[in-house]
């Protein structure tokens, strides 16, 4: 039996902002415990400031927990083995506008430890899967917002991660791009990739996820399964509104 892909146990994260005299402390998440089983698509919902991005950064080792423990595949998120198994798409990723998508992906592929034929195959595969192949010759300055988001997803897929962490993956995209990305994520999940995504779009989360965590002011207020929201009048939106109010 394999363990959970992601495990949070009693996690707290407090930010410290230094001031002229002393410091100001802000607790972004508190007493947070949950697990994400392998192969599941889990959504994270919450209002602005609920702690969604903090959770994503704790999973990817960009932040360190103030208390409690976070494990990815049973390892600390800062370990090389854990990081090598995670693909991360931050909200509104930035890429150097003078570069081509291939050059950007080759750079991130090298940072993921790919080289030689593996790197070339990884870049080609990521461009193909995200539908960017016809635009491979363009500069990134010519890319639309949707294409930039696809490139962000492509860099997360390069090294064939077992866990994808996506912060607002369909933010600001047109309906066709959303449809394509939804199809891509469904295909990745069918290949065994565990997906953890945050979004403000309840309808997208409803279509993609099998389970949803609802955050309210830094705490996990409710966990909802697909069966629960499908049986509820008003669906997931009604459950979300009732939980956060």
């Amino acid at each position: 039996m394999t363990g959970p892909t992601v495990s949070f146990r009693g996690v707290e994260k407090t930010y410290r902002r230094p001031q002229l005299l002393g410091a100001v402390y802000h607790t972004a998440v508190k007493e947070l415990s949950f697990e994400i089983p392998a192969g599941e698509v889990t959504g994270l919902l919450g209002l602005n400031g609920a702690g969604k991005t903090t959770i994503m950064k704790l999973i990817t080792g960009l932040l360190f927990p103030t208390a409690g423990s976070v494990e990815i595949f049973g390892l600390p998120p800062t370990s090389r083995a854990a990081k090598g198994s995670v693909g991360f798409l931050p909200e509104l990723p930035y890429f150097s506008p003078q570069e081509s998508p291939g050059a950007v992906l080759a750079y991130y592929g090298r940072l993921s430890g790919l080289g030689g034929p593996d790197l070339a195959a990884g870049v080609e595969g990521a461009l193909r899967r995200t539908g960017l192949e016809p635009h491979a010759g363009k500069r990134i300055s010519e890319f639309s917002k949707g294409m930039l988001q696809r490139l962000g997803l492509a860099q997360a897929l390069l090294h064939k991660p077992r866990l994808l962490v996506l912060d607002e993956p369909v933010s600001g995209l047109d309906p066709l791009a959303i449809h394509d990305i939804r199809g891509l994520l469904a295909a990745l999940n069918a290949d065994g990739c565990t997906i953890f995504l945050s979004s403000h779009s309840i309808s997208e989360v409803e279509k993609l996820c099998s389970r949803v965590l609802i955050m309210v002011r830094g705490s996990l207020a409710r966990t909802v399964t697909r069966a629960e929201w499908e049986a509820a009048p008003g669906g997931l939106e009604a459950i979300f509104v009732e939980t956060v109010k």
Partner: protein, 254 residues
């Protein structure tokens, strides 16, 4: 180990590529225009010392132009990557922080070396156009400038990890660069002053890199090769600043 060195090389080459695409040609154009204008003025003012003035002025301009680039780049590099969230895409991957920092530093130093080489070539062409040969110990003078840039760039990386803005990093590093050229004078003053003042000045001398060690064309008023103390001092300052910067970076959250 092999993978982390590979990652450092990837960060260095990416940093070099971005620099070449962004600011290089503007800086080269400024340097070429200034040096040609200065050479015309020097020709009028220096009379029989035109060769010497052109060589020294050119080398000083080369160093200042490369310094401006290196300081600007070192002070804004990490901050820009954090602001644009590019650093998320790096540190969410299996890239150790020491490897990333080494790559960033190597990228800026590689760019500085390239700038020194290209500007040196432009300078030599200008000297040849005015009828002068290669000044004595010219390569050593450029090598000394590179060592100075290495010291000040690694220090700027360290400062950028705790300063509040790129401007404050530029100012602090600029002050160190200026003070570094007055270490022999500070040492002389310390010897003269004695007592508490002398002790304070002697302590200050240990906290400031002696950049005069790297001025190959200034020693005893004539050109010479760089001595071993110059290389030892540069290695100590670069290594010390890198380790101090790494200590801060390993604790930093993004």
């Amino acid at each position: 180990m092999k993978n982390t060195l590979y990652a450092a090389a990837a960060v260095a080459s990416n940093s070099f590529r971005e620099s070449v695409r962004n600011r290089f040609f503007t800086l080269f154009a400024v340097f070429a225009f200034t040096s040609i204008y200065a050479s015309v003025l020097a020709g009028v003012m220096a009379v029989d010392q035109e060769g010497r003035v052109l060589a020294d002025m050119g080398l000083a301009l080369i160093e200042l132009t490369a310094l401006a680039y290196a300081l600007f780049s070192a002070s804004s590099s990490l901050l820009k990557e954090a602001e644009t969230k590019t650093i998320y895409l790096v540190f969410s991957r299996p890239v150790p922080r020491w490897s990333y920092l080494a790559g960033k530093l190597a990228g800026v130093l590689l760019t500085s070396a390239f700038m020194l080489a290209v500007m040196g070539l432009m300078h030599l062409l200008l000297l040849s156009f005015r009828g002068f040969g290669v000044p004595p110990f010219y390569a050593w003078a450029l090598g000394g400038s590179f060592l100075k840039l290495a010291v000040i760039t690694s220090f700027a990386f360290f400062v950028s990890l705790f300063s509040t803005s790129p401007v404050s990093t530029l100012v602090i590093s600029g002050i160190l660069w200026t003070l570094g050229h007055f270490v022999p004078e500070t040492r002389f003053l310390a010897d003269q002053a004695g007592g508490l003042k002398g002790t304070a000045l002697n302590a200050a001398v240990w906290l400031i890199p002696n950049l005069q060690l790297f001025n190959a064309r200034d020693v005893s008023g004539s050109a010479c090769v760089l001595g071993a103390p110059a290389f030892v001092s540069a290695a100590a300052w670069v290594g010390g600043s890198y380790l101090a910067a790494l200590w801060l970076l390993r604790r930093k959250e993004f």
